[in-house]
């Protein structure tokens, strides 16, 4: 009997290392009430404006409904989620000062090694708080600020942080943005001064260890005129049999003539609801690049949004989503081209297997101000078996007659002709199929720094066995 092509699930063993919650952990009561929000604010010693803001966000959260589109999230019960969990340790700027069990976790995830070899700075968040943050001196000397968000809230950039905080993604935008505003904790603040090119990337890594908890880190990145930055975000969690929630929020301001690249390898565990929000506002002659790999979580809602407000600004999005058994990953992007001569180029790929569901959802809006703007969108989906699902939902809203928009989408299986061609050249069938699937993901991996490309390739280690039935 012929054996059906089989694709191995993502090997998650390295991410499933977990530390038992000991006495040195502070965990807030489960649920979402005014008292809990006030308690978080108190724990974090918020300034008054932030305390007021949190309460306003809670009201907005209570007023907004759950989305009536997208993957089902009705099983997510906020009464069962602890929104703030922290280990009783101070943030360190050397790894030797990080508690051993936490340091070991990050060692196994390869973060300190990556920092030594290829990063300009690292922030490591464990549950609700940063446990490590460091930036290379030469980068610091250029005037680059890379710090934990709580320090930024009180430091010399406090006014700037107050001015920008949740103005790019407003709490009214959706229920989980409001939730974030109410219970946010941790995250990073990055400021790149005018004309500074941060040659090597900064990385924040978010690790959620606690069962039944939420992580709500806030990242604010400001890239001034003529500056250049590559920021990498990594995230993972061990698997539990209770729901976890991630509702982080990333706000990016890109000045004029600047370049920003934001790369994400998202590998949450399969009990995670990943309801994340990211948005960038881009100035003239600037470039915003998103590189996104979504491999983990039980349910994901993830659509990085770019608002091209500056003339001649450009956005590129390269993304891959891999959904296996028990996963419903609703990913994609939004771009609003709101100035003349803007352009966007989008390439998304998705792979569904083992009953996994991939939905690629996109929105391209060219407003009346976007004269002579262009957009090219390409969506490709690969179905590995007939128990999975793959949907493509691209929306385009064009409001100027000088726009030029092209969109193409394809969906299908591994091409028999391609397999046959490779077999005719002496490549065994299993190897041919592995090469085809790896090649499918290549445009994302080539956009990542080498070590992250290797990580991504490990994540989608597709082992093809047998022959197709």
């Amino acid at each position: 009997m012929e054996e059906k092509t089989y694709v191995e699930d993502v090997d998650r063993s390295v991410y499933d290392i977990r530390n038992e919650e000991g006495d040195n952990v502070y965990r807030i009561h489960q649920g979402l009430t005014k008292e809990i929000v006030m308690k978080i604010s108190e724990e974090k010693n918020d300034p008054q404006w932030m305390r007021d803001f949190r309460l306003k966000c809670l009201d907005i959260y209570n007023d907004l409904k759950l989305p009536n589109w997208g993957a089902d999230i009705s099983d997510l019960n906020m009464d069962e989620i602890a929104t703030y969990v922290r280990t009783n340790t101070k943030m360190a700027n050397t790894w030797k000062d990080v508690p051993k069990e936490i340091k070991d976790t990050f060692e196994q995830l390869g973060i300190p090694q990556a920092e030594r070899e290829s990063l300009a700075g690292v922030g490591a968040q464990y549950d609700s708080e940063l446990v490590y943050h460091n930036v290379r001196k030469e980068v610091e000397d250029q005037g680059v600020i890379y710090t934990d968000f709580e320090s930024a809230l009180r430091g010399p950039y406090a006014d700037l942080v107050k001015e920008k905080f949740m103005t790019i993604i407003k709490p009214e935008e959706h229920k989980f943005a409001a939730l974030h505003g109410a219970v946010w904790s941790g995250g990073s603040f990055v400021y790149v001064p005018k004309g500074v090119d941060v040659g090597i990337p900064l990385q924040s890594y978010f690790r959620l260890n606690a069962a039944g908890a939420g992580q709500f880190e806030h990242t604010l990145i400001i890239v001034e005129d003529g500056a250049k930055l590559h920021f990498i975000e990594g995230c993972s969690a061990p698997k539990y049999n209770v729901n976890n929630l991630h509702a982080g929020l990333v706000e990016i301001v890109v000045g004029d003539d600047a370049t920003m690249r934001y790369s994400t390898i998202e590998n949450w565990s399969k009990n995670m609801y990943n309801l994340n929000s990211k948005k960038a506002i881009v100035g003239k002659n600037s470039k915003m690049e998103w590189v996104s790999g979504s491999f983990g979580s039980h349910v994901s809602y993830l659509y990085p949004c770019t608002v091209l407000n500056g003339e001649n600004s450009h956005m590129e999005f390269t993304g891959i989503t891999f959904a296996g058994e028990g996963q419903n990953l609703d990913t994609g992007l939004k771009v609003i081209q709101n100035a003349p001569n803007t352009s966007s180029a989008v390439s998304t790929k998705s792979i569904s297997k083992g009953g996994g569901i991939c939905t690629t959802r996109s929105e391209v809006v060219i407003t009346a101000k976007g004269e002579n703007s262009k957009s090219a969108v390409s969506c490709e989906s690969l179905m590995i078996d007939d128990i999975s699902r793959s949907d493509t939902i691209p929306a385009m809203d064009i409001r100027t007659n000088t726009a030029d928009v092209g969109h193409e989408a394809t969906i299908g299986r591994i091409s028999d002709e391609a397999v046959f061609y490779m077999m005719a050249r002496g490549i065994p069938e299993e190897e041919a199929k592995t090469m085809i699937v790896s090649g499918f993901a290549e445009n994302v991996s080539k956009e990542l720094p080498l070590e992250y490309a290797v990580e991504m390739n490990n994540l989608i280690r597709l082992e093809m066995k047998g022959s197709i039935g």
Partner: protein, 357 residues
């Protein structure tokens, strides 16, 4: 008139609400009378006016609200049942006219027996200056290896809305061809949902439109692949002028079991004037591994190189753009199988009439 609201043209899968693309909301949607209809069969056409098909099980593109309104307003309607292969020159032409203010609804039921063929022309015309709505619900059941060609031409002006709602279901190797011309500056709503049940059955939908003024065109085309080896092609092309608005929803739905099915949808839109709004949402829904689905869209101003080429041949730019916009419509007109009607529609759409044809 009773104030009633209908939700129509819903996307099979919802997306972000802020886009306002998930559905269309129709106000004052109580249909209390029927429109005037005249039926012109060709002499050789041999059809019957009754059918045993339960058409209530066939969904339409506009959806349940429209279906319920149609069944209530015109439960008998007109039924055309073709039991045999008709001669190539034979067809039936139905002309629905709206000459008074108010909302009118009609139903049309079509059936082709196994191996039968049928060509149906439907015209929906509203007199200028009237206000209200004209709606037509068309449902079709295609037997094995049968072919149904449905050509609809609709025209209304500002103040009068037209609703053209189609549902179809196919058996093995049947082919359902739909060709539509959407004209005039009245708001128009078109829905079409074809369920490809039978193995190797097929649908081809070609839509041409020209919208101007402040008119709105709201479309929802769905090809649902249930059977193996089924094929669908949806093509919509047209032009928008002034402050007109167009929303194209197109869905290829590959249901598990539709092995080796293939579907393609393509949209080509000219945005001629500043102030137009174009919305496009082409869905591919896939629950089956062994299928091929593709979508392509080109939206924007007429291609600079083509305009330059025409200008270099002495054609003024405005005329060149007009010519290119016309070509979008004429590409659909030229699919009309009967010469006399093709010429009539060429004139109606302002196209070039080739006397030598």
């Amino acid at each position: 008139m009773e104030a009633k609201q209908m939700i129509i043209n819903q996307l099979p899968v919802r997306t972000w609400n802020h886009l306002k693309m998930n559905e269309a909301v129709v106000k004052d949607a109580a249909f209390v009378k029927k429109g005037t209809v005249e039926v012109f069969p060709t002499a050789g056409l041999q059809v019957e006016s009754t059918s045993s098909v339960d058409f209530s099980t066939i969904p339409t593109g506009a959806g349940k609200d429209m279906d319920l309104a149609a069944t209530a307003a015109d439960p008998e309607g007109i039924t055309i049942y073709s039991k045999k292969e008709q001669a190539e020159e034979d067809f039936v032409r139905l002309v629905y006219t709206y000459e008074e203010d108010g909302n009118a609804m009609n139903t049309l039921r079509l059936e082709t027996a196994d191996d039968a063929t049928l060509t149906v022309y439907v015209e929906m015309k509203a007199k200028e200056g009237i206000t209200g709505k004209g709606a037509l619900s068309i449902k079709a059941k295609l037997g094995k290896e049968s072919c149904l060609r449905l050509i609809t031409v609709q025209k209304s002006e500002e103040g009068f809305e037209l609703f053209n709602d189609i549902g179809g279901a196919t058996e093995e190797k049947a082919k359902f061809e739909v060709c539509q011309l959407i004209l005039g500056n009245g708001d128009q709503y078109n829905g079409c949902d074809v369920e490809l049940h039978g193995e190797a059955s097929e649908t081809e939908i070609n839509v041409g439109y020209a919208k101007a003024g402040k008119s709105r065109l709201d479309m929802n085309y769905i090809a649902r692949h249930y059977g193996p080896l089924t094929i669908s092609n949806i093509t919509a092309s047209g032009s928008l002028r002034d402050q007109s608005f167009k929303l194209f929803r197109g869905t290829l739905d590959f249901v598990r079991g539709a092995k080796e099915a293939s579907g393609a949808e393509a949209e080509d839109v000219f945005l001629i004037d500043d102030g137009v709004i174009n919305q496009t949402i082409p869905l591919i829904l896939c629950g089956e591994e062994n299928v091929a689905g593709a979508h392509g869209a080109t939206i924007g101003k007429p291609d600079d190189d083509t305009v330059f080429y025409l200008k270099s041949r002495g054609i003024p730019e405005a005329e060149a753009i007009e010519l290119l916009a016309q070509a979008k419509l004429q590409a659909v007109v030229h699919k009309i199988p009967h010469k006399a009607l093709r010429r009539e529609y060429e004139i109606l759409t302002g196209g070039f009439v080739d006397e030598e044809e």
